[in-house]
């Protein structure tokens, strides 16, 4: 039945002009590039074929009855309405099929739950609406934001190939190594999914879920958040770049160095202009999703910053809100998410952009002191 319907679907699709040259008519799951995803694919195909065969038998009998036993002159309906033997048979046979199906499913599941002996540990944290990847053993981490522009989303320019599936900083993993993913969230529940890996795990605030993967082939793999997490749920893609081990090692060394440079920036003496320039970027990545690029917000959930009391009056209160968040609201604590430099830059930017023009600035050193005071 399914196969027929699929064919019908394809036929029908062929009659319509494809909406976009990029689009395709993929009907089935793809096997993927990990052992797990291959096992899942074979389970999927097995159960699909079992369903197809049962469907052909059951619907076959049904359509035959519809055709051969339709009312016609002189046709007398039979009067049988019970048979214990067939009832027992059609209870036992499906049960046996299910037991046969449960065996490989159990084996795959046990394997998927074995997160021991990992070579690399990456902490994946879901935020509204981006991912953060922390390389636990290497002491660096970064955010991964969508890069698709509003112009593309609102149809003002041509959509590019990886529309909605592209990020600034993908997760980078070595090929062939067992990677343990520690999945959690900062605000609401998200779900981290890469179809080609056969890995999907919910990211839940207050919990750390474990899962693992081992990528066989180098390449760029794309997925999306799969748990409704608010207004931009459809706009937080997952991109993973799998590279050979030596390339991965070089990349890690580079990242560690960059992280070190970043820490040193706290000590530097910043000017208002420098902070504003950096603040604009940091604001776009961390704040604009809710408070909007022009500071107008989306009340009542996300208040405006432009001309607001918070951004134009007491500096300490402003600092407190950004660092510690506001409990019971969607305003997160950014103290742990952003570096001192970025915190200082964002606050300075918010106090001087969009006509707020207070002329006030806060330095990274002041932020550091604020965060480390009693």
């Amino acid at each position: 039945m399914r196969v027929h319907a699929k064919r019908a679907g394809v036929l029908l699709g062929g009659l319509m002009t494809p909406a976009l040259s990029m689009a395709d008519w993929t009907l089935n799951m793809s096997p993927g590039v990990t052992g797990t995803s291959n096992e899942i694919f074979s389970l999927h195909m097995t159960i699909l074929w079992i369903c197809v065969v049962i469907g052909i038998v059951v619907f076959g009998v049904m359509f035959w009855s519809i055709f051969a036993h339709r009312k016609s002159p002189g046709r007398k309906p039979a009067n049988f309405h019970e048979n214990t033997l067939v009832e027992i048979l059609w209870t036992i046979i499906p049960l046996v099929i299910l037991v046969v199906m449960a065996i490989p499913a159990t084996a795959t599941l046990v394997d998927m739950y074995d997160t021991t002996e990992a070579d690399v540990d990456i902490k994946v944290t879901g935020y509204q609406w981006r991912w953060k990847y922390d390389y636990v053993d290497e002491e660096f981490g970064y955010f991964s934001n969508i890069t698709t522009s509003d112009d593309e989303i609102y149809n003002r320019t041509e959509k590019t190939e990886n529309y909605l599936l592209e990020v600034d900083n993908p997760m980078v993993v070595p090929v062939g190594a067992k990677i343990r993913l520690l999945v959690t969230a900062n605000d609401v529940i998200h779900s981290w999914w890469v179809p080609a890996f056969g890995v999907k795990k919910d990211a839940i605030p207050g919990f750390v879920n474990e899962t693992w993967t081992r990528v066989d082939e180098p390449g760029i793999y794309r997925g999306q958040c799969t748990e409704l997490c608010g207004v931009k749920h459809g706009f937080m893609p997952v991109v993973v770049k799998a590279v050979p081990q030596d390339e991965y090692d070089a990349w890690v060394a580079e990242q560690k160095e960059a992280a070190q440079r970043e820490r040193e920036l706290t000590e530097k003496d910043w000017t208002l202009e420098e902070l504003m320039a950096r603040g604009e970027k940091a604001y776009a990545s961390a704040c604009a999703a809710c408070h909007q690029a022009d500071g107008s917000g989306a009340p009542p959930a996300f208040p405006a910053l432009k001309g607001s009391k918070v951004a134009t009056e007491d500096m300490q209160a402003h600092l407190d809100i950004v660092v510690n968040g506001v409990s019971g609201t969607a305003m997160q604590a950014f103290g742990g998410q952003l570096s001192e430099v970025d915190l200082a830059a964002v606050i300075t930017y918010e106090r001087n952009a969009w006509g707020n023009d207070t002329g006030e600035m806060v330095t990274p050193k002041e932020v550091f002191e604020y965060k480390n005071q009693e």
Binding site: M1, R2, A5, G9, G13, M16, P18, A19, M22, W25, L27, N28, M29, L43, H44, C51, G55, V58, M62, S65, I66, H69, R70, R75, A78, N79, F80, H81, E82, V86, W90, T91, L98, A102, A105, L109, M112, Y113, I153, L164, I189, S191, K200, K201, D202, I204, P205, G206, N209, G223, Q224, L228, G230, V231, H233, G234, F235, A298, P300, A301
Partner: protein
């Protein structure tokens, strides 16, 4: 089942319906209340359907064209809530009100005043729910499953109104269920033992017990939300020591039996319609009853299959996988029995039968995808994708909704005293059938190709099937206007229906004249 109708009972020497609006506001008559439930349900079906049209219009092409993501999320949430609580459940309660007293030979429902109250609570609940669309911050936007903390800490201010509406709907459902149980257990005609009850009555009895068991759980979970939002508790807030996963456990402990609440009465109705148009008794009556009982019991131990990706321990994962797969057995028995009933019958295909046959085929397809989803490792790929959307629309649209349409066409002659227009009825069926499959079958492919659910915009490789799906949805949506036309036409006039308009139909409801008099079975019939 043979029954002698007491003609005396049909002489309306008590009193007729009151005149004007007070007839409907104050009525305690099961037929009036049944009618109101059905009208209310269809109104909600059109409203929820309109929201589905907004969703499909936005998804017609990639990019954001018609609505903003914020409003899109409100639409998906309200569509789900309205269809589940406003369209499907009240439709079955309406059918129960009309048909259960007629089928068991009772003069009315056991608790007629409560019956009135449980209906009139519903419009109130839905006025509150729908009014949230016009509140500051908009309507609930966290999906009909309202997972915390998205619905608590991060929910819009209208969430408290949503909770209040859910509470009222729950009260209404529980009272309706108590009424059904009291009627079935106390008011059956002499001689009608439990194992002689019509299957629609059986499935509703079991459904009513499910309702009483799980609606309080729903009330509990929304009350915990209310506390978290307004009174500073932290049931679901990890930063206060709470547990967001607890929400899902409690919600789905309600939610899974709820799924069967929406399908079991349809099983019952189809078990009347298929024998009627096959002119042959239902095959395996007893096994049908046991199968429904088994499905209902199993429905309490499978809830976590909605949560395979939240990270429950492997032992739990395996238990819920096996229990879920087990549900396929009694469900399969039901399908096999329906097919065996058709086998060697003398079949005709009027609108009720068309909808019933489509029900069996398409519900089974939904059952197949359900079996696939039960395989926990594979579910890691299917979970929260369009494959799931396809699955539950296949069990709810050609399942619950086609079951309701089949019932409506089957019993319309009894309700109105007129035959509906068969050509229009068949047209309604074929348009719905084509539209529905065009809308929902491609969603399987979208899900398998990796499209997550509840997104207002999608990557380019999903464009073609989304367009097909939207076209199908528009066709299905537009076809439902035809149903309204058919029913109005049938109420106003048409060929006079006899007491027994379908030559194969059996049961006490066919022993009273068409239209059924305002009061029936004042003296109970004898069932042999």
């Amino acid at each position: 089942m043979s029954a002698v109708a007491d003609t005396h009972a049909q002489d309306d020497h008590h009193h007729g319906p009151a005149k004007g609006f007070s007839r409907w506001l104050l009525t305690t008559n099961h037929k009036d209340i049944g009618t109101m439930y059905l009208i209310f349900s269809f109104t909600m079906f059109l409203l929820g359907g309109t929201m589905a049209m907004v969703i499909r219009a936005e998804l017609f092409q990639p990019g954001l064209q018609i609505v903003e993501p914020e409003f899109f999320n409100q639409m998906t949430t309200m569509h789900g809530l309205i269809m589940v609580f406003g369209a499907v459940m009240p439709a079955f309660v309406g059918l129960a009100n009309w048909m259960i007293p007629l089928m068991v030979g009772a003069p009315d429902m056991a608790l007629p005043r409560m019956n009135n109250w449980s209906f009139w609570l519903l419009p109130c609940a839905f006025l509150i729910l729908i009014s949230t669309l016009f509140m500051q911050g908009g309507a609930p936007n966290f999906g009909w499953t309202f997972y915390a903390p998205l619905s608590t800490t991060y929910g819009p201010p209208s969430t408290t109104f949503f909770i209040f509406a859910i509470h009222i709907m729950g009260v209404s459902s529980i009272m309706g269920a108590i009424n059904v149980i009291a009627t079935i257990l106390n008011m059956r005609a002499p001689g009608m033992t439990l194992m002689k009850m019509p299957l629609f009555v059986w499935t509703w009895l079991i459904t009513a017990f499910l309702l009483i068991a799980v609606m309080p759980v729903l009330a509990g979970v929304v009350t915990m939300m209310l506390m978290d939002i307004n009174f500073g508790t932290s049931f679901f807030d990890a930063s206060g020591g709470g547990d967001p996963v607890l929400f899902q456990h409690v919600f789905w402990f309600f939610g899974h039996p709820e799924v069967y609440i929406m399908i079991l009465p349809a099983f019952g109705a189809v078990s009347h319609i298929i024998p009627a148009f096959s002119r042959k008794p239902l095959f395996g009556y007893a096994s049908m009853v046991y199968a429904v009982g088994a499905i209902a019991l199993l429905s309490f131990v499978v809830w976590a299959h909605h949560m395979f990706t939240v990270g429950i321990p492997i032992a739990g994962q395996l238990f819920f996988m096996y229990a879920t797969m087990l549900i396929a057995v009694p469900t399969g028995v039901k399908v096999f029995n329906w097919v065996a009933t058709m086998f060697r019958g003398s079949l005709t295909f009027e609108a009720p039968m068309l909808f019933a046959v489509a029900f069996v085929i398409l519900f089974t397809i939904g059952g197949f995808s359900g079996l696939m989803l039960a395989i926990a490792p594979a579910d890691f790929q299917y979970h929260d994708t369009y494959f799931v959307v396809a699955h539950f629309h296949y069990v709810l649209v050609p399942g619950a909704i086609f079951g309701i349409f089949a019932s409506a066409y089957f019993w319309l002659p009894k309700w109105t005293g007129h035959m509906y227009d068969e050509t229009l009825g068949k047209t309604h069926f074929w348009l719905s059938f084509i539209g529905m499959n065009l809308a929902f079958f491609p969603m399987h492919f979208l899900g398998l190709a990796g499209m997550p659910r509840r997104i207002p915009d999608y990557a380019l490789q999903f464009a073609d099937f989304n367009m097909v799906s939207s076209i199908g949805a528009f066709l299905f949506g537009a076809s439902q206007i035809l149903f309204l036309v058919i029913v109005v036409k049938c109420v106003k006039g048409g060929e006079k229906a006899s007491a027994q308009p379908w030559d194969g139909a059996e049961g006490l409801e066919w022993t009273v004249p068409s239209p059924a008099p305002y009061h029936t079975f004042a003296t109970p019939p004898e069932v042999k």
